[in-house]
């Protein structure tokens, strides 16, 4: 939509409503006052010392911030450069999602709302919101597609255990896109006493700015930590991008450092040519409207929204946050895609190289770092957005599909029997799917 006006940050508040042509508030009129109210609240609270102190204390004492920045020794050795992992997987509830959920539930309380609703795909944002709602004594309903409920049973149980109601969504493919639409519809009906805790850096303004502000602690901490550890800024920072909240949080800390490259890794699914992926930025899609924002979106020639595909539920989304779209267009950030099979192998590879089981989402970023040469990079920071326990069954199933009973075959790290004998090649070392399958 090149003809859409490019408006500066909203002059009344300083919270952007647009990023270049992207963003805006494409929602039913009923919600406009609630978005205005939220924008006003955040305008005050983002610089309010009492609120910020409360959020910081909860982040520290309850969620486990700051998270470590870990120099991944064996990865670094393998790729020949310093790779630091930002360990958001160590946060309470297992992913960066808690940063946003805690902040928004705290905002809800400050706005006098006693109910929150949320959408969830894999369940990470739903669990994070249910967690924060329990902590802050709020009623909580999480909208979740029934297909995702089937695939993510343990997270459904976690949410219920935490005192949240899980509302099944039966429309469409019964996944994240439909859950988000249903949460917005529910909000239309319940807007008077309910805050919608949107989980990604998308949706109508002010959500993209709000979620970025709440997630930028990832980038701010990482910047300070890498300066202390490496004595310099990284050459690039890398994160996976579905809606893009962990990536925008990491990028935000380095936006003003022109020497630091920003690299987002999208879901390549079954391959960009297959049409079954979630790589809206990599494939250069133009803007469309989904869930209240103008941003690149997968759609047919008439404008009907299409379903995305990714092995990881968190990246299985046909849209992306509007600030990412603008970072792409302006050239500040670069976006690439990693396919399902490569991400699944990276899931195993990190587990075996570093003793860290990563989320399948983060595994996309890890594959790129591990297997795409980057001669211009000496130091980099990769966001490990979440831990992989939730993905265990699904990822192992995928590995078995690829490699049969060799999927978890163990290669001795230190072959026994005196003289060093040639060990079979590590199945992950070859990199891309094609090469690995050829073994």
């Amino acid at each position: 939509m090149s003809s859409t006006p490019r408006t500066p940050p909203s002059p009344e508040t300083g919270i952007e409503r647009r990023y270049g042509p992207y963003g805006g508030r494409y929602v039913p009129e009923t919600l406009i006052p609630a978005l205005d109210e939220l924008e006003q609240a955040w305008t005050v609270l983002r610089t309010d010392a009492v609120f910020q102190a409360e959020l910081q204390q909860l982040s520290h004492d309850y969620a486990g911030r700051p998270t470590p920045l870990y120099l991944a020794r064996r990865i670094s050795e393998q790729v020949g450069r310093q790779v630091y992992l930002k360990r958001e997987d160590l946060l309470h509830s297992g992913a960066h999602k808690i940063n946003n959920a805690l902040g928004q539930c705290l905002i809800a309380r400050h706005m006098g709302k006693q109910r929150v609703i949320a959408e969830t795909g894999a369940g990470q944002h739903g669990v994070a919101t249910a967690t924060a709602a329990a902590l802050l004594n709020l009623d909580c309903t999480v909208y979740m597609g029934t297909e995702d409920m089937r695939r993510q049973g343990p997270n459904v149980q976690r949410m219920r255990l935490l005192g949240a109601t899980v509302a099944p969504v039966e429309s469409g493919r019964r996944t994240l896109k439909e859950a988000t639409s249903e949460a917005i519809r529910a909000w239309v009906a319940e807007v008077a006493d309910t805050h919608y805790v949107l989980g990604t850096a998308g949706g109508p303004a002010p959500y993209p700015a709000l979620v970025r502000d709440l997630q930028r602690v990832i980038g701010d901490e990482a910047r300070e930590q890498v300066l202390a550890a490496a004595g310099r800024l990284p050459d690039r920072v890398v994160a996976c991008v579905g809606g893009g909240s962990n990536a925008i949080g990491l990028f935000a800390g380095f936006l003003d450092d022109p020497s630091v490259g920003l690299l987002g890794v999208e879901a390549g699914g079954h391959g960009l040519d297959s049409g079954e992926h979630g790589a809206v930025l990599t494939t250069g899609l133009p803007g469309g409207i989904l869930h209240g924002a103008m941003s690149p979106v997968m759609q047919d020639e008439n404008g009907q929204i299409l379903e995305a595909h990714s092995v990881s539920a968190g990246l299985d989304y046909p849209g992306v946050g509007p600030q990412h779209a603008w970072l792409r267009d302006s050239g500040r950030a670069t976006y690439v895609a990693v396919e399902d099979d490569d991400a699944v192998r990276a899931f195993r590879e990190l587990s075996r190289l570093e003793g860290i089981i990563p989320a399948l989402e983060s595994s996309h970023a890890l594959h790129h770092v591990l297997h795409v040469p980057a001669p211009e990079v000496d130091v980099e920071v990769v966001c490990l957005s979440g831990r992989g326990d939730k993905d265990l069954a699904h990822a192992l199933e995928q590995l078995e599909r690829l490699e049969g009973d060799q999927a978890l075959a163990v290669t001795p790290r230190h072959p026994r029997g005196g003289a060093r004998q040639a060990a079979p090649a590590d199945p992950d070392a070859a990199g891309t799917s094609d090469a690995a399958e050829a073994q």
Binding site: Y26, T30, K177
Partner: protein, 277 residues
């Protein structure tokens, strides 16, 4: 834009020929208010949808609100959502719906109700041009609120002689209500409930507030919709001062019954009776 800028004399309306035709439909409506049924274009199939359009006209429709099936209808409740999904599954396209509208527009003014991405995809000027070419009179975009999001679409509608019809909700502030009403061409769509489309049981106590606030700011007729399902509701809406009564989910539900034409005709008869016809 202040309301004093506009003239109500035919030929100078900002919404052009489309607005003139809508204004005439309100002026000529029989009974206590205009009857404005919603048709989900292409549901349950294109041919039946054409017959239902005919039943609307025969049943006394003054204006038809023609819905376009969409994959992610954020303002719609389960009945219209499911009908849209069924139409999409059957392969119904925007062009199919516009052809239904073209035929319908011979008899009554037609306002297209369509989600913003379908308008943006071909480019809003081109999209609005297709409405004009099909003889449609108005455009309602439930996820395009008045403000910078809507400015260019409103301008394109004005240039093409299509009336842009904005919505006002129970949550809309007085200050914003004035802004929204000032942008209304043809009529102002007042949403009767805080929620999505769908039938409700008790409504009347909310009607008067919503209608009164809409009428306080509007210089065009006010159509009341969302949740109105029966002749009794229609009578209450008219009594509350609504110039037109919009009925959606109840009729879409009827369209899904075994004999949809008869079911729709029965609902139209009930609504007409409620409006004192």
């Amino acid at each position: 834009m202040s309301t004093s800028d506009r003239s109500t004399a035919a030929g100078t309306l900002r919404g052009g020929a489309g607005e003139e035709r809508i204004a005439a439909a309100f002026a000529d409506a029989a009974g206590s208010a205009a009857l404005m049924p919603y048709l989900m274009g292409g549901y349950p199939d294109v041919e039946t949808s054409r017959r239902l359009a005919r039943a609307y006209v025969d049943g006394g429709a003054d204006l038809v609100e023609l819905g376009v099936p969409y994959s992610d209808p954020l303002a719609d409740g389960p009945v219209i959502h499911a009908a849209g999904t069924a139409a999409l599954d059957a392969g119904v396209t925007v062009d199919d719906v516009l052809r239904i509208g073209e035929r319908l527009a011979v008899d009554v003014p037609v306002a297209l109700m369509v989600y913003a991405n379908l308008v943006m995809r071909p480019g809003f000027e081109r999209f609005v041009g297709r409405l004009r070419d099909a003889g449609l009179s108005g455009l309602i975009v439930p996820d395009l609120p008045i403000g910078e999001e809507s400015a260019e679409v409103v301008a394109a509608c004005d240039a093409a002689g299509i009336a842009f019809v904005p919505l006002i909700a129970p949550t809309t502030s007085d200050e914003r209500a004035a802004e929204v009403a000032a942008e209304a061409r043809g009529f102002l769509y007042a949403v009767s409930v805080t929620g999505t489309t769908g039938e409700r049981s008790a409504l009347a106590e909310q009607f008067s507030d919503v209608v009164a606030r809409a009428k306080a700011h509007a210089t065009v007729p006010v159509g009341l919709g969302f949740g109105i399902a029966t002749g009794e509701h229609a009578a209450q809406a008219a009594a509350a001062g609504a110039d037109g009564v919009i009925v959606g989910s109840r009729l879409v539900r009827a369209a899904g019954e075994p004999d949809p034409v008869a079911a729709v005709a029965a609902v139209m008869a009930d609504l007409s009776a409620g409006l004192g016809r």
